[in-house]
């Protein structure tokens, strides 16, 4: 388990865009992944809320990690859908993804994105998507 978590932290650290956004791995185990993103001015849009693109990045990446936890490394998000629920204002985001179903080559996962504001969490987006093994599909964002 510790190994999986360490592996996940290295994978995240090896993604330059995740470093640019400032994502941290909070939890990583069979079927479950949690990312944390401290909110800073660079991540906002013109009204002072976290930009939707940051929420979609968080959902996408947490979904990929959750899928990878059951499929192994070398996975990509094939597709996902996200509903934005509330403006994200606060101290940090937490994206919590779980595997709903998996087969040998792909996994369907769900991810809720919360914003934590002074210790209080609110759900600000919810998403659902498909993670695929790279080998099985040349249809990959990789």
């Amino acid at each position: 388990m510790e190994d999986l978590f360490d592996f996940g932290k290295q994978a995240l650290a090896s993604q330059p865009f995740s470093v640019l956004v400032g994502a941290e791995l909070l939890h990583f185990s069979q079927g479950r992944a949690e990312l944390k993103i401290p909110i800073r001015p660079e991540l906002k849009q013109q009204y002072g809320f976290v930009h939707g693109g940051v929420l979609s990045y968080a959902a996408d990446n947490a979904l990929t990690f959750a899928g990878g936890s059951v499929l192994g490394p070398g996975v990509v998000t094939s597709e996902f859908k996200i509903n934005y629920l509330r403006p994200a204002i606060g101290d940090f985001l937490v994206a919590r993804a779980t595997v709903i179903y998996s087969s040998k080559n792909q996994a369907v996962c769900r991810c809720d994105v919360f914003v934590s504001n002074e210790g209080k969490e609110s759900l600000c987006a919810t998403s659902q998507g498909t993670i695929a093994k790279i080998d099985q599909s040349s249809d990959s964002k990789a």
Copy 2:
């Protein structure tokens, strides 16, 4: 027309996250928006491709601009769905969004994201989503 384009450029420049990503407005007119994102190392994932989160940001933001071109300023993406088609490798991304249908308070838009590599464009993601006027919904990512 010129005014709408100028307005769009200012709106994009006022989004700190869009500045961080390096997005530029290529085109903005009634029912249509195009964003360009030069590809640089910070936008990649561990395999050297553009991170999916950048593609989803591009789709999300182009969808919002397209919706705003018919609904007026003060719009948010309510939801969207994206399919990743090919690894994005190249010089820059172009996200092209169009309005499929609009009513007084919301618009359904589509966005294709292309990667340009040495002058050749390839479709790397396709998306569809709903843009809503802020006033009409407190359900907003804003």
Copy 3:
């Protein structure tokens, strides 16, 4: 509560397509709706499984009912997304929908569709969508 359930049963019975499919209301309360669809030959596709269109009908309608349970009557599904997980083979389908988030005018809901085969339930599809009050949107499938 009994009243809400009775109201829901009447609403379902007033939909000719739901009668054609053979849907029954199992549960209907604030934030939650369950539909049951007995599986019969007319609902299948060429391989003997329940047709995907029946699963998507079940998801769509359960989502609408869940949304209506918090928004009031006069709602429509604005959009939804569904992932098919397993071939549906068995005695009946159960679609279980819950409200994830609601505002005055719309609700984001989730629905899992199970197939029951000789008393054993399996998840065969999962979906997520937006339900809107009719008044608030002329964008309606109604």
Copy 4:
């Protein structure tokens, strides 16, 4: 070409649910499929419009046919997303699906659903989804 069309008509005729709904194949060629559904009272909901479940069936099935036109027989819809745009009132539905991208094992397709009313067509729903070869995924609605 004629052979592909004949093959498609037989495939549709072999789906009992498609027969129940009354779907007809209008067009079927490499990368493109069109289904027609005459509107009759059994396909409506309580307000007299075509039930959303019929629109989602039409989209789902046209997507599957479009995918099958490039992947070969033995395909399933893995997932799709649909936005409902207008109430469907009229004489018949036409679902037009095209392949956006395909690899060896899957295809991403788009489908617009129109309603024809006294000779005038209106777009009433738009959808996007993934079609997969059955062999490649046990994740199938089949």
